[in-house]
Amino acid sequence: MTLTDHDPFAQPLPPGRARALPWATVIGGSTMTIVPVIAAVPILPPLGLLVLLAWRLLARFALRPWAAAPLGFVDDLLSGQPLGSAVLLWSLCFLGIDLVERRLVYRDFWQDWLIAAAAIMFCLAGGRVLAVPLTAHVDGAMLAQGCAAILLFPLAARLVAWIDRKRGMA
């Protein structure tokens, strides 16, 4: 974008749409499970959770504190986990991030990434314990899935930051 393209008086999105945009992106991330692949092991990172964490850590007023539960409900409908697992785990993540925010007053992207990594690992481990019997051989695959998700977090953060800048102040 050149300087002449930039219009400082352009209207940002109307408030209703700007408020709905974070919800839509998280649901879009959850919907990625419909890609036409029959996976033999859990390979797809939990993209809905990634986008949710990015919104929560980068733009904390974009989602209400209670937004994790309904978004988790949508994720449960699409992911194949027992209904309620993402509702519980995502809500606990939001509460945990609130507690961390109280302690860690000034934080950088590295701290955000660390918090997101802990939340991703917590959700994956919780989902594994809640959904799959303990004797199943899925731990290695889920560890790889968690690492992939952690490495994807900066990408999700860039995407969320870009959308947040586009949508203006809500």
Binding site: P36, A39, L44, R64, A68, L77, L88, L92
Partner: protein
């Protein structure tokens, strides 16, 4: 990043209550999640309706995406086919020459088999196909191994029906929606299929491992040796699967419990055949019909 200053609510009662209620709702969300989890673990089919309603919307989208992917993938495949047509032709000729005597023998055996069965007056049940559909997506982010079939109740698919692919058994239908059905794949950790060894009928069960393979365990016998390459087919016990559908091949020799590779490697481009339940249980009598109507006192 500077700290977010939203906790300073000032003197506005409205703002104070708003933030307080937000946190109350957040905790309530976690509690609701825990309750839903308990309910869905005690009664898994309870939420099948809403889940499969969503799946009925996503399955056609996945099917469309699969068609597009398939079309894109067919271009290099076609080029490959032209390049290697000659070598493939020669290999197939060799294979045909090797298979012809086997086919003659199999024909004789099949005829013998028919005759002997007729002598014994064995009543054969052949499972009827319900519908041919495709697996369009799967639970790729979860530890469970479900696939989504793009045919549902409108096509006559009902829970419990076995699903087989061209190579062997794929799994069975778990939940159905109007236009989609959820299939429990063989490799799901909660899938158990009764099988028998194809050469001597040794009974065993194939339990999913969650990593794309199955564990084959012997039943009612200890110290059973499995050789690598042993083929297991469904035994028909339990009445769900028709006997004789290929399930898995033993990957490494062992005793009592060995790793098995499933024949069907479910892929999105494969067709899946949904069959009727082989020997359905007789329907439970409805309470109204079972209980004799009391005469009015």
């Amino acid at each position: 990043m500077a700290p977010a200053g939203d906790r300073r609510t000032g003197f506005s009662r409205r703002r104070q209550y708003g933030i307080f209620i937000g946190y109350v709702l957040a905790v309530a969300g976690a509690v609701v999640g825990a309750v839903l989890l308990v309910v869905s673990s005690f009664n898994p089919p309870l939420f099948a309706g809403i889940r499969m309603g969503v799946a009925s919307v996503t399955a056609p989208i996945s099917g469309g995406l699969a068609t597009v992917t398939e079309a894109a993938a067919s271009v290099p495949e076609a080029i490959n086919g032209w390049l290697f047509a000659h070598a493939e032709n020669a290999a197939m000729r060799r294979e045909l020459a090797a298979a012809r005597p086997l086919l003659q023998r199999a024909r004789v055996i099949a005829y013998d088999n028919r005759r002997l069965r007729a002598l014994l007056a064995v009543r054969d049940r052949t499972p009827d196909p319900v519908v041919t559909a495709r697996l369009v997506s799967s639970s790729a982010s979860s530890g469970r191994r479900f696939a989504l079939l793009d045919a549902g109740r409108f096509s006559g698919v009902l829970p419990g029906m076995p699903v087989r692919g061209p190579e062997g058994l794929v799994g069975r239908v778990l939940e159905t929606g109007p236009a989609a059905a959820r299939v429990l794949l063989l490799s799901d950790p909660e899938s158990i299929v009764p099988v028998r060894r194809s050469r001597d009928g040794l009974p065993a069960i194939a339990i999913g491992r969650g990593d794309g393979a199955v564990d084959i365990r012997s039943v009612n016998a200890t110290d059973v040796r499995f050789a690598a390459g042993d083929v297991f087919v469904t035994s028909g016990i339990g009445g769900l699967y028709a006997p004789g559908i290929p399930v898995a091949r033993v990957a490494a020799a062992g005793t009592d419990s060995v790793l098995g590779r499933t024949f069907a490697q479910p892929d999105t481009f494969d067709f899946a055949l949904v069959e009727r339940v082989f020997m359905p249980l007789p329907a439970a009598p409805t309470p109204a019909a079972a209980a004799p109507t009391d005469p009015a006192p």
